[in-house]
């Protein structure tokens, strides 16, 4: 078997790319105060932020699943006018600057919002902000998988007496489960790391809305060591997601 040697220009660019991505992570790990890590990470504020982050990101994931899966089904299976507009709206949070998302949420669901749910400055507000940015990942992954599922299964299930809901839960959903899992992992990781929308819409209050990324940002101003420790923690959580996903990163067939 012949080994192909990559052209020099490509190889150089690739090496630069790898360095660009890995160097910051390596620097972070290098500067982490390993001996002080246990103390820094078990401080009350760190544990509170961690607990809150886990709660909010899981809540955001739950919300994304509840809303996102039906939305994906709608986009994949139903024809209706304005469908491309809906798809654009669903994809918007992917490209919108998160802070802009936070401002929009404020104007929509704040105390004087279009729908005055008064969710600003609440933990639910943080969950909503995180769900806002995480939802598109889930919808895109599930929609792609649904489009790939053979419609004949639905046909057969119908002839066997199964109504649409039962067919969805017993036939379609099990078949899209891998994509659903991949989309969920990405969505959760995104929710966990959300900053701009959270701080703008939900504000910053330890125990209620001060998630880990906010904690890192604020702690950096006083106590860089603690901030680095928290950053390493977030990095570890992100790596966990990567390891769990391994090669299953394809969101569409």
């Amino acid at each position: 078997m012949k080994t192909t040697r990559p052209p020099l220009s490509l190889a150089t660019a690739a090496v630069v790319g790898v360095a660009f991505l890995l160097l910051p992570l390596a620097a972070l790990l290098d500067r982490t105060p390993w001996h002080a890590l246990p103390r820094l990470l078990t401080s009350t504020s760190a544990l509170t932020a961690l607990r809150l982050s886990i709660e909010c990101s899981l809540g955001a994931l739950a919300l994304s699943l509840a809303v996102g899966v039906p939305l994906a089904w709608l986009l994949a299976r139903v024809e209706f006018p304005g469908k491309s507009l809906l798809r654009a709206a669903v994809t918007l949070p992917l490209v919108l600057p998160p802070v802009v998302g936070g401002v929009a949420l404020l104007l929509a669901f704040g105390r004087n919002g279009v729908v005055p749910l008064s969710l600003s400055f609440t933990t639910w507000g943080a969950i909503l902000a995180e769900a806002f940015v995480a939802l598109p990942f889930l919808v895109l992954a599930v929609e792609g998988a649904l489009l790939a599922v053979d419609e004949r299964y639905d046909d057969v299930a119908a002839t066997l007496g199964s109504n649409t809901t039962r067919t969805f839960f017993r036939v379609t959903l099990p078949l899209v489960l891998p994509a659903l899992a991949a989309g969920s992992a990405l969505a959760w990781a995104r929710a966990l790391g959300e900053f701009g929308a959270t701080i703008t819409f939900a504000g910053n209050l330890p125990g209620s809305t001060q998630t880990l990324p906010l904690d890192v940002y604020l702690t950096l101003q006083d106590n860089p060591d603690a901030a680095i420790a928290l950053s390493t923690l977030l990095l570890a959580l992100s790596l966990m997601v990567l390891v769990a996903m391994r090669s299953r990163w394809r969101l569409t067939r």
Binding site: Y153, A158, T159, L160, R170, V171
Partner: protein, 341 residues
């Protein structure tokens, strides 16, 4: 339960209109060239394609009912077993509870694959999967069973095996079976009636015997292993549309009538020299193709008219038949059936 259909269905730009009545126990082979509307018709019965008209099962019109409430069993071309469920769970899908599961096991046993209950579809051979699909459809005891080319995706051995199972269970089945097929063997061994479609309309709805001896289109004649020629009656003979003349023992008297002249393949005899004798129909032809089918030789001939002949292997050897060879084809007038269209 009598099955009455008077359906009009549209699939895209293609329209299908079928009217017919069938009795419980009928196994109807639905045949026709590609694009004739066979699958659309079946899907319309199932409710998977929208249709207008009436669809009466046992006197009850189900045309407005959703798919799940029509009492129709459906086996698509490669079974479409749910890949994430075991064979047993597949069969039990339409049934309820523990009684459903034991009934499902019984069905698998009946089809001779009871020991495969725990296997997933990916672990089954093509033939085994089709049997599971059949069991799954039959388990709900439907009034109408729809089989869309159930043997097409199987290899020869599996096909024979599944056909045997199908024959046994269709014989027991109390409802009406609609079986789409391209295979004459299926028609001969499984079906009691034939519904021939072409261009979205019914061209013949008759018993297998009638379709064999008196098909109404050349395509149908060819399916049943014979020849069909469109022709006009002309002074006691049949002037074929594609050229040539055939003489039939019993020809209708009305000149200008449109008919189909049907000649079974085995009635065409081949000779090296122009034959003497009583055969009224003799013409020269060239061999285009030879195929050995089930111990006989099918010879496709070019000529006026082009014709399909079916001879014994012995004759073929005697005559030294080969592609490109020129021969004489002859048909007795008594072997020409005239079907008035």
């Amino acid at each position: 339960m009598t099955f009455d259909a008077d359906l009009r269905a549209t699939a895209g730009t293609f329209a299908v209109a079928v009217t017919g009545r069938w009795q419980p126990g009928d196994v109807v082979a639905v045949v026709g060239p590609n694009g004739a509307g066979k699958s659309t018709f079946l899907r319309a019965i199932a409710g998977l394609t929208a249709a207008t008209g009436t669809l009466r099962i046992g006197g009850v019109d189900v045309v407005d009912r959703p798919v799940a409430r029509r009492g129709v069993g459906w086996v698509p071309q490669d079974g479409a077993l749910f890949p994430h469920l075991s064979a047993l769970d597949n069969v039990a899908f339409g049934l309820r509870g523990r009684r459903g599961r034991s009934a499902a096991q019984l069905w698998l046993d009946r089809l001779g694959i009871g020991d495969l209950a725990g296997r997933k579809p990916s672990q089954l051979s093509g033939g085994q999967a089709q049997k599971v699909a059949l069991a799954r459809a039959l388990a709900r005891e439907p009034s109408v069973l729809l089989l869309d080319e159930p043997l097409a995706a199987l290899d020869v051995e599996a096909r024979t095996d599944v056909r045997r199972s199908l024959r046994a269970h269709l014989a027991e089945f109390q409802g009406v079976t609609m079986l789409v097929t391209h295979d004459a063997v299926d028609v001969m061994t499984l079906a009691s009636r034939v519904l021939a479609l072409d261009g979205g309309a019914v061209v013949q709805d008759a018993t297998v015997g009638e379709v064999t001896t008196a098909p109404r289109t050349p395509w149908l004649a060819a399916l049943m292993g014979g020849n069909g020629f469109y022709a006009r009656v002309n002074a006691g003979t049949l002037a074929l549309d594609e050229g040539g003349i055939l003489v039939a023992a019993e020809a209708p008297s009305s000149d200008g009538a449109e008919v189909l002249a049907v000649v079974p393949a085995h009635a065409v005899t081949l000779h090296r020299q122009r034959p003497e004798g009583s055969a009224r129909n003799v013409w020269p032809a060239t061999i285009r193709d030879l195929a050995v089918v089930g111990g006989r030789v099918r010879v496709t001939l070019d000529g006026t008219p082009a014709v399909l002949a079916d001879v014994t292997t012995a004759s073929a050897a005697d005559l030294a038949l080969a592609e490109g060879v020129g021969v004489w084809a002859s048909v007795k007038a008594t072997e020409v059936t005239v079907v008035v269209l």
